[in-house]
Every structure is written in structure tokens, then in C-alpha cells.
Symmetry: C2
């Protein structure tokens, strides 16, 4: 079972999925387009959000970062006049220190990720989509240069109007072999309820991924991150609208229908079922709002029954 | 007043000196030979020890690091199996995050140091000896490669026998102009009671420094870090002995006599006064063990009276 994954939404779904099936069968293929360097540290937000969530150590209030966190480094950095808009808790910092040190020793991201997830006693497989660098860049109005995703997303709180999103390096990046293998043999390929443009598209932009999904379309189930015309979290709806796409489950269907047979939509969007079917996807109407881990498990159970 | 400075011993002396004189007249020229990178972060132990000490924020028990420190990052890093032998407290980490981010933005070490010392409300001037990279390396018995100073000093607790110390990059490094200017005009040039081989020699190894001190020998006062045949702190005595030098104030006199007129020795070493005088330095017998900041201030007052 392979899951194309972004951050918070994917983490919640995976948390349900590993309880619905034998967790050792779950392979999360995780977006690394929003990885970046700050303060000299290599930061992988989506990998960490999933690791912390699956290990029960995520800050559930924020959805990212670690529970029981302290902020002494950031507090001191603020006094120094440093860049503190990207909040790195003291315990969270350890993950970045470790990753950076290992990377500088020559370890690849998949190896480092395995080491970290083992230390967090994660029972499923968490893979970066690639060991190469792919950088999601965002063009906003009134600025000529492309912004790093995190600068747009965190520093500017995803407020400016987006005119373009680019995935720098995607053409020359290689999908992690283990990830491609998982996609080739998976009984189900699930596209998590993550931002389609910022989290899923970087994965799809890697050479070979779309072809593989096209090939295996009958096994591909996408979960809409848009419910009732709004993203559950984050700017997915806003960005889709700004890029001229329909910010509804129909917009999601348009993005995924070519290579996904099923589209899981929320009960609130049942009215769109007909149109989704007309767009040649099979609509699956479920409660998709994962308010608790148990709800997520219930959703996962329904989804794995589909195929 | 210019002070050639290492870490803990120099910091204690400077803490006394800034109370004995107008602190704005004090220029500390600080060893950067033991600067290094760990976890991708740029770490400058001597600059930080002096900054934390002068701002009253040093961990007085350890002599380095910050007071009221927490260790959540290190604790988490330990669980990850990361390198934790070099202890970086959560608040201390902020300094390294700031320095690394600024360095990667193109700021030079002197500029970054000024920013940090200003944030810590330091009233004197703290200068790195150079903006270039000089790396103190240590050769130990039974190992062919040169170790980074911190690896020898912290990881191996300065235990292995030292056969050679090298200051990589010193020939091609440029003394910070502001530091050279300070040496040229200082009424007094004080060599702090720091490790002569690991802290002072890296400064002396920079092009032009020794020549300047030779030129101004009458203004140069060295304070012995060796008292009663032992270093007050750290492995100065041990390393001097291992390198075949006398681990006493006489060994210190030998190292400094060429370019320093005065040698401040402790009361306990009064017996060596004659020999020091014979070696053409002027011995100054004082209480040099800085058990409290007030003792340090007293020592500083005596020393500045010399010239």
C-alpha cells in the first residue's frame, strides 16, 4: 500500500491507515519539495510532520512540530535579531541537527530518514520521494523572483496571490528506487488529502511517477483535501483559485482523473458525485474530516475496502 | 588596551579588566583557531565564552555555555543517536544558528561578532583574530591524521598524548584590520592567561602579529596560565610537557620573552622570579588565580599600573 503524502493531512490519514492494516505494509512516499535550509540546517517539514505524528509526538494543536516542546533557542535567537518566523522548537531542532550532520557525512536522505524513523519507532516505511533536490518555488504578485515555498507559506502566511508554482530540479531528479518499487507492486496507491499543488504535484512531477500511475490507474485512489469548497487546512483552495482552477472536489477531479480511478469526497460534497462520475472518476462519498485518529482509522478502513 | 584572548581564562580576566578601566578602551582579540562546524553550524567557542562571560550570562560552573540553560535539543539528539559529545544547550544553539545564517548570507565573522556582542550589550570590543579560516589541528599518538581541536579537546577530553599542533591556514589568513590597528596603538598589549599553544599561538601565527609585538615589546604584558607547575584549567601544562616544553612559568617565559617585556606570575611561583629576569623578562608577582570577578578586577588593576 503506497501513499503519496504531503504534511499534516497525509500524516493524519497515515495515522489512521497504520491502525487499519498491517503497518509494515504501508509505504508513505513523502514530498520533499518544501525541504529547505535555514540557519545552515537541513529541514524536511513533511517528513518530520509524518514522523512526529505517527510516533505520537506531534504537537496536535499546531499539527506540526513536537509535543511538549520548549522554545529557548528561538527565544534567544529573537534577542539576537535572528530569523525566527520559522519556528524551530528545541527538541525539533535535534532532528535538523542530526539530519544536517548525517547529510554532511555523506548519508543520503532516505538513509537518514530511515535512521530517524527507526529512532522514533515508526512501524511503516517513510520514504522521501527522492534523494535529489527538488525545490518548490512560488511566484507571487508584485515580485519578480521566485520565493522559497516556506518563505511564502510561513513567513508571508500564504497571503500573497500566487501566479505560478514551480518545482525546481524535478526533471533531473530521480524517484527513490524503493518508492518506485512500492508504486509498482502496491495493491492500492492512495493520494493523501494533501495540497494538490504544493504537496502532491512535486511528487507527480518526478520522472516516471505519472506514467506509473497511468499504468496502474485502477489501483489509484485520491482523497480530496477540499471539502465543501474549502481546504481543511492550508491554502490549497486559495491557490487553486488563484491559478484559475476550480477550488472544489471537481477541481481535484480534474487534476487527478487521468491517473486515479477513485476520488474520495466528503459527505458534504455528495452533490458533486454525478459530475465526478461524468469526469470518468468513481466518486466515493465518506466522512473525510479526520477530527480524531479513530475517525482517520475508520476512513482508512473504508478506503482499503474499495479495491 | 588590547588583549590577546583564548576562552575561559581570558574571559575571566576580561571580566575583571572591563571593571578596572573604561570598558570602551578594551579590545579583545580572540582566537578563532578552535572554531569549527558541527551539525552544519558555525561554532566559535572562544568568542562565545567571552561574550557570555562579559554579559554575565555564562554558566559559571562549566565556565562555558550559557547560564539557566536547557538541554532539550541534546537530549532529543541523543535519542536519535546523534553526536552529542559537544554539548550545545538550547539557548547556546541560538547563537550558532544566528552566526551560521548570517555567515551564509555573506556577513563576515567580525560583523557577526559585533552584532552578537551588541545584542548581549557588551561594552568593550570583541574581535575575531581573523575573518579567514584558521583551524587548530592536533596530532595524537597512534593516529596518522590530524584531529580537529574540539575532537581532541572535548571528545577525547584532551587525554591522548599530543605529538604536534598545527594551525592550518594561518599563513594565508589576514589579521583583522581592526585588531592590528588596536595592537599598533594600544598603551598595553596583554596576553591573557590562556593556553599558550592552543589559544595564543594561533593568534601569534597570523602574519604580522609577532612582528608587531616585537616592535612594541615594552608594552606587552603576558599573564602566565601556569601556576605552581599546573595549568589552572585545561591541558596547557600537559601539552607543553608532551611537546617537550617546560610546564612552568619558565616554559611560559621561553615562549613569550622575545616579544613580551613583562610576565605576570602567581605568588606561588615567586621562586622563579630570578630565572625569569635572567631570561630577560620582567617578572611581576601577583595573585593570578581569579576565584571571583572581584579578584580578577584587582589583578587587572595591578597589571594596568605596570605601564
Amino acid at each position: 500500500m503506497a501513499v503519496l503524502s504531503g504534511g499534516v493531512g497525509a500524516a493524519k490519514f497515515l495515522q489512521g491507515l497504520v491502525k487499519a492494516v498491517d503497518e509494515s505494509e504501508v509505504v508513505a512516499i513523502v514530498n520533499t519539495g518544501d525541504d529547505w535550509y535555514l540557519h545552515g540546517l537541513k529541514i524536511c517539514p513533511d517528513l518530520d510532520t509524518i514522523t512526529y505524528t505517527l510516533s505520537g509526538q506531534v504537537n496536535t494543536e499546531m499539527g506540526w512540530g513536537r509535543a511538549n516542546e520548549t522554545w529557548n533557542a528561538m527565544e534567544s535567537l529573537e534577542i539576537l535579531g535572528g530569523e525566527t518566523w520559522f519556528r524551530l522548537g528545541d527538541r525539533d531542532l535535534a532532528t535538523h541537527l542530526y539530519r544536517t550532520q548525517r547529510a554532511q557525512s555523506g548519508a543520503t536522505l532516505d538513509v537518514i530518514t530511515r535512521e530517524i524513523t527507526e529512532a522514533f519507532s515508526i512501524g511503516c516505511t517513510i520514504l522521501p520521494m527522492t534523494n535529489d533536490t527538488v525545490s518548490t518555488k512560488v511566484q507571487i504578485e508584485n515580485r519578480a523572483d521566485l520565493l522559497d515555498f516556506q518563505e511564502y507559506f510561513v513567513k508571508l502566511r500564504a497571503e500573497p496571490r500566487v501566479s505560478k508554482v514551480a518545482y525546481q530540479g524535478c526533471e533531473s531528479a530521480s524517484v527513490l528506487k524503493e518508492a518506485m518499487d512500492a508504486l509498482l507492486i502496491a495493491d492500492q496507491i492512495i493520494i493523501a488529502p494533501s495540497n494538490p499543488i504544493l504537496s502532491i504535484e512535486p511528487i507527480l512531477s518526478l520522472p516516471g511517477i505519472k506514467e506509473c500511475l497511468l499504468e496502474r490507474r485502477n489501483k489509484v485512489i485520491a482523497i480530496s483535501p477540499i471539502v465543501n469548497g474549502k481546504a481543511l487546512k492550508g491554502p490549497a483552495g486559495k491557490i487553486m483559485a488563484e491559478l484559475g482552477q476550480e477550488a472544489s472536489v471537481l477541481g481535484i477531479a480534474k487534476r487527478y482523473r487521468e491517473f486515479a480511478k477513485y476520488l474520495v469526497i466528503d459527505n458534504l460534497d455528495i452533490e458533486y458525485s454525478g459530475e465526478i462520475r461524468n469526469s470518468s472518476m468513481e466518486p466515493v462519498v465518506l466522512g473525510t474530516v479526520m477530527t480524531t485518529p479513530d475517525v482517520a482509522t475508520g476512513l482508512a478502513k473504508e478506503i482499503i475496502r474499495l479495491i
